[in-house]
Amino acid sequence: MMARKKLVLGLLALTLAAPGFGAEPAPAGTSRPVVNPVDPASIAALKKMGANLQTLRRFEVRTDLSSETVLEDGQKLQQSASAEIQVQRPNKLRALMWSARAERELVYDGRTATLYTPALKYYAITDVADNIGAMIDQLEAKYGVQVPLSDLFAWGTDAAPLDQIQSAMNAGQDIIGKDLCDHYAFRQGQIDWQIWMTVGDAPLPRKLVITNRADEARPQSVSHLVWNLKPTFKDAIFKFTPPKDAHPIGIRPLNSK
């Protein structure tokens, strides 16, 4: 503790003794003037990650999310939620979502999607498209049901248009868990977002931060992702079998009363 204090003081003295240290303009040629706000290399990295995601046929991924609500006076509260999703491309997905408030199960078998609430034993089945991307769009647009980590199925496809990105930059490297990651920051309309993807030939997103600029309090979500590319689940998990005592109920389309 004492030694640390001395070190800090020493550093402080050193800094003071060298006026302009740190404030000195970088020598010509070492700082790159920013001409294009969209750094092509950052876009290329995003493309590469998207392409890699699309090659994954069978995987499971867990996410721990911190999200925020903004109260009327601008004060923010943070909430926690988690989800586990299991995927067999192109048309099978199962998602478990839980938080202090609710637990939900979503099961997609390639033809129908079932939403289940274990605590109430109610489930709703609806016909959906025959691929994961279209299924996600349908649930979102028709029922307002969001699938966790839906970006994983958009990146690398037309659903994630890269020309919408107004700013892209490399923010250096960072370590998430034990993984070395490249850190990128993007600006897209009212959304600022950052992604940490593992380095190497098969980049995977390990962390995602999304800042909503539509509100001056800038509510932000933070997701940490943990991947398993060699899952042991069976195909049977993609078939919803109602538990005993469970009841089917309807699901209301968004535009109806």
Partner: protein, 153 residues
């Protein structure tokens, strides 16, 4: 109680939301409580001490980069996404709390039903009967809500 959301003034809305919030966990807890971990580990969450001010939510974070935001997230959608049960009004339709003293209007929507309701199966449909009032559960987004209906028989 047959008022639309836009007609509600702020004060009664706050009161309604308080009811809605306090009662909401009860509904999910009825059959064993909120489970955490997705693996059946029972955890009982108690929010009875939660401050009413936490319900005055004006906005939320978003969870996805690539989502069609043409539709107003806060009015038509379920709020902040898959993890969200925080947004005070789940839909543009009027969502009112279960206030026992008020006669339930057919077509109105509540988030929870009173504790004295009994589940009734009729013609393959599950209802909640509470005295002379009947509710039919439905999903709105990922949330179960209850519509007041005419008695099915």
């Amino acid at each position: 109680m047959k008022r639309t959301f836009s007609q509600l003034s702020l004060a009664p809305l706050g009161a309604l939301l308080l009811f809605g919030f306090v009662l909401a966990p009860v509904a999910e807890a009825r059959d064993g409580g909120a489970r955490a971990g997705g693996g059946g580990r029972d955890v009982h969450v108690n929010n009875s001490n939660r401050d009413v001010r936490t319900n005055n939510v004006r906005n939320t974070s978003v969870n996805n980069v690539n989502v069609n935001r043409n539709v107003n997230v806060d009015v038509d959608r379920h709020g902040g996404g898959w993890n969200d049960n925080y947004h005070p009004v789940a839909t543009a339709a009027a969502v009112t709390a279960t206030v026992a003293v008020t006669a339930a209007v057919v077509g109105s929507v509540v988030r929870t039903v009173p504790a004295n309701c009994a589940p009734v199966n009729y013609n393959g449909v599950v209802y909640q009967q509470c005295g002379s009032t009947w509710y039919q559960p439905q999903y709105v987004g990922t949330q179960v809500q209850y519509v007041v209906i005419n008695p099915p028989y």
